[in-house]
């Protein structure tokens, strides 16, 4: 009976948030222990490598670095130009968001729930609803914060929906998870809408949770049945949800300002001083 009461309290009211955070903090050592095999594997991967592989890697990275440096040169001038043009248009400057690297220390054992545990928590200024990205796209958002860890809901979880827009023409939609790690469903798109396989879906910023413009997924399949009002659209998430070990916590706008006390460890942000933190 008590358990049933607990269940109802947890599912229907948000009264147990604090309790959960406390229990999660207590359970943190178990995550550390469970992560040891992966640590060992990582260590072996880093330290036990052949010389030829290292040389090859260094070569590749040097090439990549050259390429990126070349692009970065242009970047500075383009950014300045962009700011000038925006000033001309009278809109607010879009400031790059602050990010912090977090490491994944656990995944949900239940295949139907797409939850991750990361090694940053309340101590590092993580807050509920904070978006996460990886190198390729949007990953998910924080749903539970403990002292040293936080739990992240992936965009592919069946209970998660992401407001998106098509990068090509700006059509807005909602992308929902369907329980498989490599698919998103885009619902309620009329059959006549201009959407094609290969279209990039980016976050639209509607709802104020995710910042604008991060890639969410690529449309893989569009089924238009004239008898149905809506097309059936599948997309593949851009982020490497089942592979990435490191994710980036994005600190957005005013909420980030109020929850973060230690600006020392945030990544360098040349464009945004304290004056221009109204991004998002």
């Amino acid at each position: 009976m008590a358990l049933a009461g607990l269940l109802v309290a947890d599912l229907h009211f948000n009264s147990l948030g604090r309790t959960r955070a406390l229990l999660n903090t207590l359970a943190t050592p178990v995550f550390w222990v469970a992560d040891i095999p992966r640590e060992v594997d990582d260590w072996a991967g880093q330290h036990l490598r052949s010389r030829s592989a290292l040389i090859r890697d260094a070569e590749r990275l040097r090439r990549e670095n050259l390429l990126l440096q070349g692009r970065a040169q242009q970047m500075a001038s383009l950014q300045a130009e962009n700011l000038r043009l925006r000033a001309l248009l009278g809109s607010t400057a879009l400031v790059r968001n602050d990010v912090q690297v977090a490491e994944l220390i656990g995944v949900s054992p239940d295949p139907m729930r797409h939850l991750l545990v990361i090694n940053k928590g309340g101590q590092d200024g993580v807050y509920i609803g904070q978006p996460l990205i990886d190198a390729e796209g949007l990953v998910g958002q924080v749903v539970e914060v403990a002292e040293y860890t936080a739990r992240v809901l992936l965009i592919t979880d069946p209970t998660h929906s992401t407001p998106v827009q098509i990068n090509r023409n700006g059509v807005r939609a909602i992308a929902e998870g369907n329980g498989s790690l490599d698919a998103l469903e885009v619902h309620h798109i009329p059959v006549t809408t201009d959407i094609e396989p290969g279209d990039l879906l980016v976050s639209s910023g509607m709802g104020g949770r995710f910042p604008v413009g991060y890639p969410v997924g690529v449309v893989t399949q569009v089924d238009r049945d004239p008898g149905q009002p809506f097309a059936r659209i599948l997309a593949r998430p851009s982020a490497a949800l089942d592979r990435s070990r490191h994710v980036l916590l994005v600190f957005v706008g005013a909420e980030a300002e109020s929850t973060r006390e230690t600006p020392a460890d945030r990544s360098a942000d040349p464009a945004g001083g304290p004056a221009g933190q109204d991004s998002g």
Binding site: L3, L6, V30, P111, L181
Partner: protein, 160 residues
């Protein structure tokens, strides 16, 4: 003195089971992960029914919920059912042969999975297929190992 050490051992085995329950698995093993915590609870309820019972099961279950980020009480209820069934059946379970025990484990863990699924569907994240029953099979398969390891532990520490 000795009995207190016994409780330490039980807590330790449950902790190990909890770690096994959240250790990352390869993707193809995702659906087949044995229910380690349920197996350990099942063994202790069968071997020492006067020590490990409903309360232990419920508390362990809530702890597992916290670990997995499930609604509090999901595994609590499921493990409670396991403990209840074993409390009714332990005399029979003890005299069963190993494969008969395994068959019973299959049924009991199956019940565990059904309750688990039922609570999860309340949250809107129900499995689309019957694959969620697969852990019942794998749990039955690893039962002999669990039984022998825990029995060896129990005999080594003279826990009664």
């Amino acid at each position: 003195m000795r009995s207190r050490a016994g409780y330490g051992i039980i807590a330790f085995t449950l902790l190990v089971a909890a770690v096994l329950a959240i250790v990352p698995n390869p993707l193809w093993l995702q659906w087949a992960r044995p229910e380690w915590v349920a197996l350990v609870i099942l063994y202790w309820c069968m071997a020492l029914p006067h020590r490990v019972g409903l309360l232990t099961a419920a508390v362990t279950g809530v702890f597992q919920d916290v670990l997995e980020g499930a609604p509090l009480g999901q595994h609590g209820l499921a493990l409670l059912a396991v403990a209840l069934l074993v409390a009714l059946l332990y005399k029979r379970l003890r005299v069963f042969s190993l494969w008969q025990q395994s068959a019973m484990v299959f049924l009991i863990i199956g019940m565990h999975q059904l309750i688990d699924q039922w609570v999860q569907s309340l949250q809107g994240a129900a499995a689309g297929s019957l694959l969620f029953l697969l852990p019942a099979l794998t749990s039955a398969l690893v039962w002999p190992v669990v039984l022998h390891v825990l029995r060896a532990l129990r005999r080594y520490y003279h826990m009664v």
